[in-house]
Amino acid sequence: MRFTRRAAVAAVSVAALLTATACGSSDDSGGDSGSKKVEVFTWWADGGEKAGLDGLVAQFGTACAGQTFENGAVAGGAGANAKSVLASRLQQGDPPDTFQAHAGAELQDYINAGQVEDISADYDSWGLKQAFPKGLIDNLTVDGKIYSVPANIHRANVVWTNKKVVADAGITKDPTDLAGFFADLDKVKAKGIKAPLAIGKDWTQLMLFESVLITDLGPEKFTGLWNGSTDWNDAGVTKSIDDFKKLLTYTNTDRDALDWTDAEKLVMDGKAAYQLMGDWEAADLDAKKFTDYGYFTFPGNGTTFQWLADSFVLPKGAKNADGTKCWLKTVGSAEGQKAFNTKKGSIPARTDANPTDYPKYQQAAMADWKSATQVPSCAHGSACSQGWQGAANSALGAFSTNQDAAALQKALASAAQQFVKK
């Protein structure tokens, strides 16, 4: 008798626990009927990025009546959080209707995994092949197929200046080669500014290093570094590392503790004269009401435009493929690009945009975009895959502390060897 009572209690408790878990798992499968929702997965949760997304959504509302936008933004970590959430959703076969990804090599991981659809046919019907410059189309095309629609273009190889600090040092025109840049840095230093070139942690150092590479190797050999046609053990790379090492002597010693906005603050406060950063800095400086800034392409880069782009894709197994295509069409359209880019502070990928719709810096960048030589950026995923990017960041981080030029070249060469074929 005693046994049965104990057994009964046990059985009931177990049953209760199991029902509890069953209840927990039963209510997450509904909700995809109707399928007029387009879930757009991004890491644009605040600031100019959010404003740009809102502009795009408004355009989507008018162009795609009947479809509703669902915001699937995951904030934080400059996209790192979103990317890990996305990876697990894709693995589970539960993709959002569309997601944000850097155009170029970073997309390669998804293409290899068969997680995104070929949309070349839509490129033709939407007229995007004529609207985008040929250099961009070439970069987007993988084995004759295109997988993404870029929403915007940013430029990475721009030096931002504090005009007052530069003028105080008696510098009247922008340097056009590295020797001139070093001379100017010395002039600013002579005015008592110990670290005239502001910089932050690993990835910002990678950006600076890439700019030096473009100067020393030229655009073609630079692009070759990322597709395997230029050897990382090349003497030109050695020279670049030496130049980069010399540049680092002009930078703040606490660089590894700073993010790009901290370095930007050094320029704004007049504690530094220059900073190399992507052109989102223009929008950020404007937002911070700092107007006394100037900019020039990294010395020696000539007319090379190092681009990066956010793009949207059609994932395999998207629940509402028609809605996604309408979203992509909106993203690529002249109205959509205008709605997005005027707010985000980037420039449209289309060459037929009207410059007068944009602020001053963007107008200059748009003119360059049409005429310049386009090269991709590794720090921002248009030149290399995420794994390569991680290895390069780590190598630059190590160089920042140990200043060992041979080790940096060796590390970059082995990273290339490991990742270039993928």
Binding site: V14, N112, S394, N402
Partner: protein
Amino acid sequence: MRRLRQWGPGLLLLSPSLILLAVFVYGLIAWTTKVSVSDEHNALGSKGFVGLENYTKLFTDDINDRFTHSLKNLLIFTVVFLVGAMFFGLLWAFLLERGVRGEGFFRTVYLFPMAVSFVASGVVWRWLMNPNTGENAGGLNAVFGALGLDFLENKWWTNPNWGMAAMAMPAIWQLSGYVMALFLAGFRGIPQELREAAAMDGASTYRLYRNVIFPQLTPVALSALIILGHMSMKMFDLIMSVSGPQWLTEVPAVYVWQTLLTSDYAKAAAISIILLLLVAVVIVPYLIYTNRAEKNA
């Protein structure tokens, strides 16, 4: 049948937690092990079994010896953290045990930092340990500068050799109080008779602590070491919020995260397993020891 009646209901009651543990702990360890011996280096999935290649590569073929560098960082962090937290914990417990006024107040003061999350305190310590010196100094360096103690200004966690020792400071600050609580419980658990007996035998205070009290605290010290040790080896949140993920302060847990973000599942799994083994090396002997001690008791 009779034996089944004996342990059947108990087993039935335990079964939900056993099943959950089996799936979510041991099952996943097994799965991770399986991934770590595969070649699943991207989202494409695995093509086959590669044996221990992922492990050997970590030690011999990692770019810039990144993995051994992260192990070295972890070693420095762990040693400084353990020594520091044990020292301060024991010191505070000893002072309180000697009968300081307002013990309850100080106990709370020392224990409170433990209630703060590593992420929250990490953000504050990031600011405190600002590596700028001289006129640009901030945080602690600015305090030193203002007090005329310029020689104390240093680069904190950005020092390439001993940066991890600075990184251990917030951890020491946070967990010394916990060690103190453990030791205080240990002190209180020692029967009064032993002290009296020692006093009767004419032992000095030094002899009392050296030969009577401290030997009794060995199990407490060991528990404290184990608890702090395994926390230290898995340290992630503090480092992420003080320095962010970067070469200088990379430890294996951060490296796993970085590797996972680049979809290199096999490598991430291999690092995780090494980390698990490291923790097991510390924990398992302790479990055996306590198990034996309980049997003897």
